[in-house]
């Protein structure tokens, strides 16, 4: 890196570093300027503004205009944050190609003069140009993909999306035109006889550019598809709006009788529904087992017989003999209880009797049956018994009375 005089190089280094530092130092105010489109001068001191203008970061496009970021700085930010609204695509290939040609010439001249340090520097610059050229396509392709993948979501309306898509397609065509300018025969000629040049200009650049080319074609295909979809959506929206408006204006509108035309349009030939039904068939012996299981699995209607409060003679509706027998046993036990009451002089608690006789009836059923039996007595016999309910309210707030026990006693007639 010796050939340039070191003084100039170090000066360049210092100025560059200082100015880059300026970007960092005022990053927030500058970013705000990027978003607003102009710089709020009050946010800077006067000397800071002077420095920023001198560093070609800010400029005043017009006497009347406020300070703004230089286009290159805006572009840098747009590329860093992938802001598709502001990102620029540079499709200029011819200029880069010219630079590459010149560098190759300078490199060859230096080699010819055996000035190896200059040759090395030129090769270094040439490498940079080649990378720039490739990077330029890479940046553009990245931007295009980014826009595609977000469905052009950075603009709001469908019309804007269509316009953005068309703009992207134009950019893409320029990029493809630029690629055509790269004539590999020329590059091969340029690098003739030099391994390093061949490696750089032919194998490396060619590889990169052919992959860019296929990426661009893919992007183009997708852009066209997306545009078609946008257009379809747009035409659908319009069709809906306009047809609705038409039908509102012509409420009596009746289209032609398509179903009775000789050739019915497929859209209106919509067959009636058929619901396939099936029933159990008993003709296959092998399926009997399964059918039997199905029948067994059918839920049976549970025989819940609510006792009839009025007559209390619910035994009559009991079909099942076993239940009838139990019912009869309960009745007998209750009758025995009544007999005991008659034998005994004082009141007799029903639950006490139940435990005393070690009867297996549920206490609730027991009490219920006793009340039922009492109700079933003929009027004059009812008078013979005094029935006393031991009741408590269901809870402090619920005055429903629950019967806890019943005591029965013989009443003096």
């Amino acid at each position: 890196m010796a050939p340039l005089d070191t003084g100039a190089a170090s000066n360049l280094f210092n100025v560059g570093a200082e100015r880059l530092a300026l970007l960092g130092k005022h990053h927030k105010a500058l970013m705000q300027g990027y978003l607003d489109g102009f710089i709020d001068e009050a946010a800077f001191s006067e000397s800071a503004l002077k420095k920023l203008i001198a560093a070609r970061i800010l400029w005043r496009p017009d006497e009347q205009q406020p300070l703004a970021l230089r286009p290159l700085v805006s572009e840098l930010i747009a590329s860093m944050v992938a802001d598709e609204n502001r990102r620029q695509i540079n499709a200029d290939v011819a200029e880069k190609l010219e630079q590459i040609r010149n560098r190759v010439q300078a490199y060859r001249d230096a080699q010819y003069k055996s000035d190896y340090s200059v040759a090395e520097l030129q090769l270094q610059r040439l490498t940079e140009h080649v990378h720039d050229l490739s990077g330029q396509f890479e940046e553009a392709i990245d931007s295009l993909w980014h826009r595609l993948n977000s469905d052009f979501g950075f603009v709001a309306s469908l019309d804007d999306k269509i316009r953005e898509n068309e703009r992207a397609q134009k950019q893409l065509r320029r990029l493809l035109d630029g690629l055509v300018l790269l004539d590999f025969n020329e590059l091969i000629e340029l690098s003739e006889g030099n391994n390093q040049l061949r490696k750089l200009l032919v194998s490396q650049l060619q590889n990169q550019l052919s992959s860019h080319h296929s990426s661009l074609l893919e992007v183009q295909k997708r852009l066209v598809e997306l545009l078609a979809r946008f257009r379809q959506q747009q035409s659908r929206s319009m069709l809906i709006t306009n047809m609705a408006a038409f039908l509102r204006q012509h409420p009596k509108y009746q289209p032609a009788d398509y179903p009775n035309r000789s050739d019915v349009p497929v859209l209106f030939n919509q067959a009636a529904a058929i619901q396939p039904q099936a029933a159990i068939a008993l003709d296959k012996a092998s399926e009997r087992q399964i059918l039997a299981e199905l029948v067994r699995a059918l839920p049976r209607t549970a025989a819940i017989n609510l006792p009839d409060q009025q007559s209390a003679s619910f035994a009559a509706v009991m079909e099942d003999e076993e239940i009838a027998a139990r019912q009869q046993a309960l009745k007998t036990d209750v009758e025995n209880f009544y007999l005991r009451v008659i034998d005994k002089a004082g009141p007799l608690s029903a639950l006490d009797y139940l435990t005393e006789q070690q009867l297996s009836w549920d206490s609730e059923i027991w009490l219920y049956q006793i009340i039922a039996e009492y109700q079933a007595l003929p009027q004059d016999e009812k008078h013979m018994f005094a029935i006393k309910r031991d009741e408590v309210p269901a809870s402090a707030v619920n005055s429903l009375l629950l019967i806890r026990d019943i005591s029965l006693s013989l009443q003096a007639a």
Binding site: I240, P255, P259, A271, A272
Partner: protein, 206 residues
Amino acid sequence: MLQHGPLLERLLAGDFICQVSDEDAFRHLSQEQTQQDINHYLRPLNRRLVSNDDNSVYFLAYHELNKAAREQLSGQFALTVQSLLPLLEWLQLVQETLGRDSALTAGDTIKLQEFVLRTEDNQSLRQRLNQLASDRFFNSQSDALDNQVKLIFRRLKEHGYLLQPHSDRQYYIVTGKIDYLIDVIRFIRDEEHLPVDDTPTQQAML
């Protein structure tokens, strides 16, 4: 044919099969061999498999148009014509309410709650929804916004325009039957030379 049993049942029941309503079945139906098999099977039932113009939705049509078939089609057609305006108004209403920049298409998701929330605070949307709900296609008797919206969406689900992936969750996916509806409208427009434009003029684009 056995593996297409459930699909045949759905088709026979009058369902429209699209990528949204049944992805697997739709893929099968896109194969020519399957189409032939199904048509062969349906022949004695006087049915055949048909699709809309861009093959995005399949349904069954009559093979031969006898008298009974024509009567059925006439009834069907009358219903379709009657449903056009309410369906179009619903499409517009959803697009405007949800602030979408394009009309609903198959695969779009609509959250019922979002729709209700946005309608609630907007008098004109509320008014339009009210009117739409009382159209005889939806036939809502309720004055409550929530009930009206629920009814509208349920009706659209019954007619196959919407799919509700989870019966306990209030979000819906637009099915391919909406493409069919658009095709019907376009067909009528073209056939009857209605003054209904769908190509944006240069002025509209600017």
